[in-house]
């Protein structure tokens, strides 16, 4: 197998002192920006881009890649500890992760997130070595019709994943879809649902919306409770998860990794869908799904494995096809171009030291992240000892800075304030925000791809069932719907029979 020969080249490049240093710098910065609410990997990569031009291309790419997957590790930390998802893909982690933290199990939650991410990272890296070219071919077969059907599948999964009432979940998904449509329509250029407000012309800012609903609304909700809550929060629990916990999580980590690896390959939101999908899958296969949403460790292990696997495999379309799967990848392509490298199938053959060096560095980087993160878990958890009267104003302050900093637009802070009130009402009404967020993110993509498909097919909707991949997703969606509906139908019938 020349996989090993290739890996030897890769490790030869990645293990030089200089590249190890840049790899460490990358993952360290990535963890840091992942942990701090208010900075994300896109910003950090953008800021470091000019510096990277002075480095050799391989070192530069190793460092930038480290920032990206390092942030995936760090992002889960804030999600678990303070219930603020740093990235869209850690939204699901808040559901069970933060519950665990409240039950005094923040340590194991952070520990299992790191272990799951490490395992997923290793598997995904290995997979890139073996299967990058064939997987790239799959991504190439994804046209607008396939994307549309995938989004449909994702949204139905969002309904399945919600805890509590299905009707409320559907309501939240639809509301999310509608909120996602605010702003300029890319097909006609018409401004929709902006009520003449210029601040809304570009739509509702995702960062403002998610911080409002997850950050500020949560703070408000917690303030209602008595001070007793703070005592529970300050109980830390052991850092390293118990062996029983790990064993309990092994199947979840495996499933999360598999799903993340596959969905990460798709250009466009793969890692996000992977995290949501993995969580849904866990809930479906679990014998006692009721523990999910109340601090089930598997609800942390699966999505964390999935989003890290997805983060790694999203390098496949970028490195092999030159197609970015998210804004950070787009920036990495920009960085490669400026170094005089054209991303595409030829990178692998023309610049093997670059291609395999980056891949080998990912494995090393993942190892560094575990070494870096597990001892730090104890430190992060100490954050929970900060009294609420100090932590809450700090969260709100960070949220305001973050919302403003995205576009330098004060109106985004107002949008955030509005949705904070809305999010608080949702919590009071027991409506889960996760489906809303997923609808918000996927809705515009779904609409774009639907209209694109129909433009290309000249208005013929049959393409959705004529394309095999698209048909497959639609069938899975239909099955999921049946799964959701079945218990409800059965219950109704039982009720009817009792009368």
């Amino acid at each position: 197998m020349d996989v090993f020969a290739n890996l030897t080249i890769g490790f030869g490049v990645a293990l030089t002192a200089q590249n190890l240093l840049y790899c460490f710098t990358g993952v360290f910065l990535g963890t840091l920006v992942g942990v701090l609410p208010g900075i994300g990997p896109v910003t950090t990569v953008a800021m470091l881009l000019p510096i990277s031009f002075t480095l050799p291309p391989v070192s530069a790419m190793i460092m930038l890649a480290g920032i990206y997957y390092g942030a995936q590790y760090g992002g889960s930390t804030t999600a678990i500890l303070v219930n603020i998802p740093g990235e869209a893909s850690s939204v699901v982690t808040t559901i069970d992760g933060h519950q665990m933290a409240r039950q005094g199990r923040a340590g194991p939650a952070l520990g299992i997130a790191a272990i799951g991410s490490f395992f997923a990272g290793c598997v995904a890296t290995l997979l890139i070595c073996v299967a990058a070219p064939p997987l790239a071919a799959i991504a190439l077969n994804f046209g607008p019709a396939e994307y549309f059907s995938l989004m449909v599948c994702g949204l139905i999964a969002a309904v399945v994943l919600a805890r509590g009432s299905v009707v409320k979940a559907i309501g939240m998904v639809v509301l999310g879809l509608l909120l996602g449509l605010v702003g300029n329509d890319i097909n006609s250029g018409v401004r929709r649902f902006t009520f003449g407000a210029r601040g809304l012309a570009d739509g509702i800012e995702f960062v403002a919306l998610s911080m409002a609903i997850y950050g500020i609304a949560e703070v408000a909700y917690n303030l209602e409770k008595k001070a007793g809550q703070a005592d529970v929060m300050s109980r830390i629990g052991r850092v390293w998860p118990a062996w029983a916990d790990i064993r309990h999580c092994i199947p979840s980590i495996l499933r999360g990794t598999a799903l993340g690896t596959l969905l990460g390959v798709l250009p466009g939101g793969g890692a996000l869908l992977a995290a949501f999908g993995a969580y849904t899958l866990e809930k479906k296969v679990a014998r006692h799904p009721r523990t999910f949403g109340h601090g089930d460790i598997r609800g942390v292990a699966a999505p964390e494995s999935a989003n890290n696997a997805g983060a790694q495999t999203s390098f496949i379309p970028m490195l092999t096809l030159g197609i970015p799967s998210n804004p950070t990848m787009a920036m990495m392509i920009g960085a490669m171009m400026i170094h005089g490298i054209s991303p595409g199938p030829r990178v692998m053959t023309d610049r093997p030291e670059l291609f395999w060096g980056i891949i080998a560095s990912m494995w090393i980087g993942n190892l560094m992240l575990v070494v870096l993160n597990l001892p730090l878990v104890g430190m992060w958890v100490k954050l929970l000892r900060i009294p609420y009267r100090l932590l809450f104003p700090a969260i709100i302050g960070f949220c305001c800075i973050g919302a403003f900093a995205v576009n330098g637009n004060a109106s985004d802070v107002l949008v955030m304030a509005f949705f904070a009130i809305f999010g608080y009402l949702c919590l009071k009404l027991d409506c889960e925000p996760a489906p809303l967020i997923l609808g918000f993110v996927l809705g515009p993509l779904m609409e774009e791809n639907l209209r694109r498909t129909l433009l290309i097919s000249r208005g013929d909707p049959m393409v959705f069932v004529e394309e095999p991949i698209s048909l497959g997703f639609l069938i899975v969606s239909a099955l999921l719907l049946v799964v959701v509906a079945a218990p409800a139908i059965r219950r109704k019938r039982e009720e009817a029979l009792q009368e």
Binding site: G38, A46, N187, I338, S342, G344
Partner: protein, 325 residues
């Protein structure tokens, strides 16, 4: 996903420092950092060109030039911000052809491009390249035009959204070639390449930087470039002009604009420093990496250029009936 931009928050605090200090009014311009507003998101061509320019302009003008992203659709929020800024020459903006397109395309703008702003200098010239799907039975520009004429309404072209330069370049091309094709907007031409490889999209006008990875190994075919003369990149590809469509020229240019009320001597100083910066070999080398070439101009020539671009796109937009209600 969009991510938070803490850098801007840092930048803001850095900016507040000079304002807090007592103003040294007696000193000549520039006596404090100049802000160059970049109205598009970091990571793209505007950002790269803008940041390169900011760095070297800082050297030639003898003051720090801070590049600041103020993003929003069509670059409108960023441009509007500068149009309303104090006319002291410390706030300037770099804009792309949208500044000449938007007045015709959109029903209303918060500012008047020609009354509220003035051109300080041009920045660059960057042609587009006409690329076609490899699934089409065409290898050259002539074959492509003949195929398009023989198959009216069958072709699709992608764009980076309605009213963007790649969209209007295709509209202009369609109008002049007398062909018909369906417009399929994407969020960026880059997104449409997979669909172009599989044949769902037939052709597009793309930036050189975006097209190079795909034309390098023939995953899409370069047919013609949109400048009047061939450049160093795509030297073996004909221009649309020499292939038969006389005078066809589409350029992804940038201009530096300042508020209209900035005094002429301040504009003159800025212009001189810009001209000097754009003549530096480092700037030329950096621009060349994304297929652009530095071009400077006097404020008057820049204004005349902007007017001619405005007239050109106004005709295309009205002929294709693209203006928004």
């Amino acid at each position: 996903m969009t991510s938070f931009r803490f850098s801007d928050a840092l930048l803001w605090s850095a900016l507040l420092i000079p304002f807090a200090a007592p103003q040294a009014l007696a000193q000549a311009y520039p006596n404090k950092p100049i802000r160059l507003v970049l109205p598009y998101a970091p990571g793209g061509a505007t950002d790269f060109i803008g940041r390169t320019l900011a760095q070297h302009l800082g050297d030639t003008i003898g003051q720090t030039v801070i590049a600041e992203n103020r993003t929003g659709s069509g670059g409108i929020p960023g441009t509007d911000y500068v149009a309303r800024a104090a006319p002291d020459g410390y706030t300037i903006v770099m804009m792309d052809p949208a500044i000449a397109i938007n007045p015709t395309l959109l029903p209303s703008l918060p500012f008047d491009t020609f009354k509220d702003l003035q051109v300080v200098s041009r920045v660059n010239s960057a042609p587009l390249v006409l690329v076609a799907s490899p699934t089409l039975p065409v290898k050259t520009y002539d074959e492509f035009v003949a195929y398009a004429k023989a198959n009216p309404g069958k072709l699709n072209f992608s764009s980076a959204g309605i009213g963007t330069s790649p969209h209007l370049a295709s509209e202009l091309f369609i109008q002049r070639a007398g062909i018909s094709a369906v417009h399929v907007p994407y969020r960026g031409i880059g997104q449409s390449y997979t669909d172009m490889m599989s044949g769902k999209i037939s052709f597009a006008f793309s930036s050189f930087a975006g097209a190079l990875p795909f034309t390098a190994d023939n995953r899409v075919r370069p047919l013609a470039v949109s400048s009047l003369k061939r450049g160093a990149i795509y030297a073996d590809v004909p221009t649309v002009d020499e292939a038969g469509m006389k005078g066809f020229e589409v350029d992804l240019w940038y201009v530096i604009l300042a508020p209209a009320a900035v005094p002429a001597d301040t504009v003159g100083k800025l212009n001189a420093a810009l001209v000097k910066a754009l003549a530096l070999p480092e700037v030329k080398a950096a621009f060349a990496k994304i297929g652009a070439e530095p071009v400077s101009s006097t404020p008057q020539a820049g204004t005349a250029f902007l007017k001619s671009e405005y007239e050109k796109w106004r005709k295309v937009i009205l002929d294709a009936n693209l203006q928004q209600k």
